[in-house]
């Protein structure tokens, strides 16, 4: 397992939005999904994750509904709003440009 990195500010929101782009999910599922995708390189503290979910809901980027989980448990499901989808597109684009710029600097020597 590679050493885990702290999340860059704002990146968590982006990851959450990206996760929910697949479809509605509850907080635990979002957490699991991010861990799997990043192969545990990025540690997401779950307290921060839930705060991100609620913050995004307040900003109107996602909305929540109570539903029943696969194990027949009541769970709160989050899904993207149209506004959230727009935000995801814009932020992914910005993040890619940012990363590309960083890579260009890092790769210059080689």
């Amino acid at each position: 397992m590679a050493e885990s990195l702290d999340l860059l500010k704002g990146t968590l929101d982006l990851l959450v939005l990206r996760t929910l782009a697949w479809g509605p999910a509850h907080g635990y599922a979002v957490s699991r999904w991010i861990a799997e995708r990043t192969r545990d390189v990025l540690t997401v503290e779950e307290a921060a994750l839930y705060q991100a979910l609620h913050r995004l809901e307040r900003r109107g980027l996602i909305e929540s509904e109570w539903g029943v989980s696969e194990n027949n448990r009541r769970a709160k499901y989050y899904s993207l709003t149209n506004e959230g989808r727009r935000e995801l597109r814009a932020e992914s684009q910005a993040w890619r440009q940012y990363a590309a710029a960083v890579f260009r600097v890092l790769d210059f020597a080689g």
Binding site: H54, R55, W66
Partner: protein, 887 residues
């Protein structure tokens, strides 16, 4: 996770409490832990380890929980606000759409409201600016005016009385005395006359007025021996001295006396109103002598000491008055004193006329609101089916009422905004129309206080317009409406409400018309009053002779003789008189007198009269008729025995046996050893001197040759009205004394007209308001009758089909309109009889309950009502029976 959650919204409901939010968060977190632990246990961990691991993985649970709850509360609160705002916005948008679609209704309603609120605000601006606004001084409520009361009439103070009150009063922090004294000032070669006020040195201290530049009077500067000093008003300083502070310390020549300018006082602190500059009283020893207690010419103000009230001041002043009465029963035997707030002393007499106007204009606004309410009630009943549908779609009755109230509020606010424009535009005309002597009228403007009033008006108007339709909707049974459908709805209730509103507005119009009618009759009666003199073709002007250049009575008399001679030579001039004071102007000079050889009258029963010093020509110029005896003439000179001419009123009142001629009258006033008085040689006709609506007062006329004076008013009779002698007068005076200013030059008829300017102002405005009221009522009647015809189409159609004549249908509809008018007329007449009593003091020559006025007003209004009903009646008579039945 792809499984669709069942549709059940989480914390979205705006009414969510913090407890519910917290429960939601707790449930969410516990679900998280359950899932995490289950998974770890499935992976082979013991339950305890799994729980520990889950906690470790999560982070600080308690902190996170609180953060989540806060976050959610913020969201919920915002949502709640947005929802409220949203409904409100919806209401407004919907109301706006309604008003835009119903363009005719909106325009008529807006115009009506703009007129109603506009004139109301304009009048309110005047009432507020003149009456209500506090004086500019510090703690103006503590400033009072003091009066001497003689025979229940307010009078000024004598110098010795003023000194005694000032010495004895403890409830006032101080008393200041002042009197008007015009002064001549030669400015760049042009002589001008200034309104000077001679005041005691503490006037500004009591008013707590600071100097704008320089200083105000210092203690001791009002002594006779003190150097002469002057404080200028800001207006005079800016207009005549270019606002240059270099004026401070400089000497100016006032009435030929070097006077040092020591300061300037800001315009808003001008007291008394109209003062150009302030000089000091400089009372002489002779003026302060106790034998002068009868000469009351000092006006007195004071400031109530901290902790004292007006009542305690009054008690103390009455005590002082009693003491003075015992001290000097000859002069002060029956003399009291009175304390009145300074503001009331300035504007008190105007309260009645101005509040009458405000009440009148409030009636107009009420009528306007009734009209708009009527219109919107008609509209509401036309919208019943729409409202019923909205109700069926889930809008609660409260919401529907709120919708209507929003509409009426929107209308009222827009109407009042337009009204502000009307007020701004009409205020200028109003101020120009106002009597010139209305105090503080120049400061009247549409300002923050008027805006606050506008807000109040908008609310009241919104309520007045909205409440009736809202009540109506509140009473509508929605389900029943829907079942019955729009056509079969019984609209009797609406029509009855509308009729009641129209009856009300007719009643208001009758009251207003009656008020206006009474004022018209008053003005007519005043114009018919014979003033006792003929003002036509008489031109007047006044000059003030400064003591420096006219030190002796001989010089003053010589000036009068020379001037009269020159004026008589002017083309078109037939006769020139001269007098001290004129009828219907503010110059009043009254004295008590005794009859030689008769015992002194008891206190309170002394004889008093107005004094008019005049040349023999004065009687000819003003055509004051000689009734008995002879007029004095040019043989009655300074060295010959003193003679007097008295007015009929004086002869009647004090010599009821008809033996006035030949009596010798003596006053306490005069110079050296000679007292003003003499032998009565003639009796002349009475003259209305105080006002046309006041009875003529007793008059004593003395020859100018025997009693010259320093402020002559010349009365010049011309051959015809078109003769313009103003420039001739100026040249004549210039030739005699280039330093003398000529002032108050105008036709005497203008003086007479100005004396009724208040009544004329009232007549004009009340007539205007009544006209508005009548027009609005006519529109109201028309609206209701026309609506009634529309509603009874079928019934009328049936009647026509069954053979009713068109005349009969016409009569039926007319009768509907007239019934309202008659009912409204009766209520209005009753109301008028009750209300016009309140304005009795404004009336002259007519009783508050005047059958003639009431009859004319009622007939006029019935005629208007008939006219207003005629158009819908004709329309009804022309109905085609079959088409009426088909609709």
């Amino acid at each position: 996770m792809e499984q669709h959650p069942s549709k059940h919204r989480s914390v979205q409901i705006p009414l969510t409490t913090r407890a519910r939010v917290a429960r939601d968060v707790d449930e969410e977190l516990s679900a998280h832990f359950t899932m995490r632990i289950e998974e770890l246990v499935r992976g082979g961990m013991s339950r305890e380890d799994a729980e520990r691991e889950a906690r470790k993985h999560f982070g600080d649970v308690d902190a996170a929980r609180l953060a989540l709850i806060d976050e959610d509360m913020r969201r919920v609160t915002r949502a709640r606000q947005k929802l409220g705002f949203e409904t409100w916005r919806q209401d407004i948008r919907y109301a706006w759409r309604q008003l835009v679609t119903q363009r005719v209704f909106t325009i008529v309603a807006l115009l009506t409201l703009a007129l109603g609120t506009g004139v109301t605000m304009a009048i309110y601006s005047v009432v507020d600016g003149v009456l209500l606004r506090p004086l500019a001084f510090r703690e103006p409520d503590n400033l009072v005016r003091l009066y001497t009361i003689i025979r229940s009439r307010r009078s000024s103070f004598s110098v010795p009385d003023f000194m005694d009150y000032r010495k004895d009063s403890k409830t006032l922090t101080g008393l200041a005395g002042y009197y008007d004294a015009t002064t001549n000032y030669v400015h760049g070669g042009d002589p001008i006359r200034l309104n000077a006020v001679r005041a005691s040195d503490n006037l500004f201290k009591i008013l707590e007025v600071p100097a704008l530049i320089g200083r105000t009077f210092a203690p001791g500067e009002d002594a006779e021996s003190a150097p002469r000093v002057a404080v200028l008003s800001e207006t005079l300083w800016r207009n005549r001295f270019a606002g240059d502070s270099a004026i401070l310390g400089r000497s100016v020549l006032l009435d030929g006396q070097q006077t040092q300018v020591i300061g300037v006082v800001a315009s808003r602190y001008t007291y008394p109103l109209g003062a150009d500059l302030w000089l000091t009283t400089r009372f002489s020893q002779a003026e302060q002598n106790p034998n002068q207690r009868g000469a009351r010419w000092i006006r007195v103000i004071g400031r109530v000491a901290p902790g004292q009230r007006t009542e305690t001041v009054q008690t103390e002043l009455s005590g002082i008055a009693n003491r003075l009465a015992q001290l000097d029963s000859a002069h002060n035997g029956d003399v009291g004193s009175q304390v009145v707030s300074l503001q009331e002393s300035i504007v008190g007499p105007l309260q009645k006329p101005l509040f009458t106007l405000l009440a009148a204009v409030a009636f107009v606004l009420l009528i306007a609101s009734v009209n708009v309410a009527n219109l919107s009630l008609a509209r509401t009943s036309a919208r019943e089916s729409e409202l019923a549908v909205r109700a069926a779609l889930g809008a609660g009755q409260a919401r529907l009422v709120r919708q209507l109230v929003t509409e009426s509020t929107l209308l009222a606010v827009a109407g009042t905004l337009a009204g502000l424009l009307v007020a701004r535009l009409s205020l200028g005309a109003l101020v120009a129309m106002a009597p010139a002597d209305l105090p503080r009228i120049e400061s009247v403007k549409v300002d923050a206080r008027v805006y606050a009033f506008a807000v109040l008006l908008a609310c009241l108007a919104g309520l007045a317009i909205g409440v009736v339709p809202a009540l109506h909707v509140g009473a509508v049974n929605v389900a029943q409406r829907l079942r019955e459908g729009a056509r079969s709805v019984v609209r009797g209730g609406v029509q009855r409400r509308r009729q009641a509103l129209v009856v009300g507005e007719i009643a208001l119009a009758v009251i207003l018309l009656t008020g206006a009618g009474l004022m018209v009759r008053t003005l007519g009666a005043l114009r018919r009053v014979d003033p006792g003199f003929d003002a036509n073709n008489v031109y007047i002007f006044t000059a003030t002779l400064p003591a420096a250049s006219y030190p002796t009575l001989e010089r003053q008399h010589q000036f009068a003789v020379n001037t009269a001679e020159r004026l008589r030579a002017l083309p078109g001039v037939t006769d020139v008189g001269m007098s001290f004071g004129l009828p219907l102007t503010e110059t009043r000079f009254s004295l008590t007198f005794t009859v030689r050889g008769q015992p002194e009258p008891p206190p309170g029963a002394d004889m008093s009269a107005q004094i008019r010093i005049a040349t023999p020509e004065y009687f000819r110029v003003l055509r004051i008729p000689l009734k008995r005896g002879r007029l004095y003439d040019h043989s009655d000179i300074a060295s010959s025995p003193q003679v007097i001419v008295v007015s009929e009123e004086l002869a009647r009142r004090y010599f009821p046996n008809g033996d006035a001629l030949g009596k010798q009258l003596i006053t306490g006033w005069g110079h050296d050893s000679v007292k003003l008085g003499g032998t009565v040689v003639g009796i002349v006709g009475d003259v209305h001197s105080e006002a046309l609506n006041e009875p003529p007062e007793p008059f004593l006329y003395m020859p100018e040759a025997q009693w010259p004076f320093d402020e002559p008013t010349f009365t010049i009779r011309t051959a015809n009205a078109s003769t313009n002698i103003a420039s001739g007068v100026r040249d004549a005076i210039k030739a005699i004394d280039p330093t003398l200013p000529v002032f108050d030059s105008q036709p005497l008829a203008a003086v007479v007209a100005a004396s009724v300017s208040q009544q004329r102002f009232l007549v004009r405005l009340l007539s205007l308001f009544s006209l508005l009221a009548v027009v609005l009522s006519a529109i109201g009647i028309y609206g209701v009758v026309a609506y009634g015809v529309e509603q009874q189409r079928r019934e009328l159609g049936v009647r026509l089909a069954l053979g009713a004549s068109r005349d009969r249908v016409l009569g039926l509809v007319l009768r509907d309109g007239m019934r309202l008018a008659i009912l409204g007329g009766i209520i209005g007449v009753v109301g008028a009889i009750g209300l016009t009593r309140l304005v009795e003091r404004l009336l002259f020559g007519v009783k508050p309950v005047d059958p003639w006025t009431l009859a004319v007003v009622t007939i006029a209004l019935l005629a208007v009502a008939g006219f207003a009903s005629l158009a819908p009646a004709l329309k009804a008579a022309r109905l085609h029976p079959t088409s009426a039945l088909r609709d």
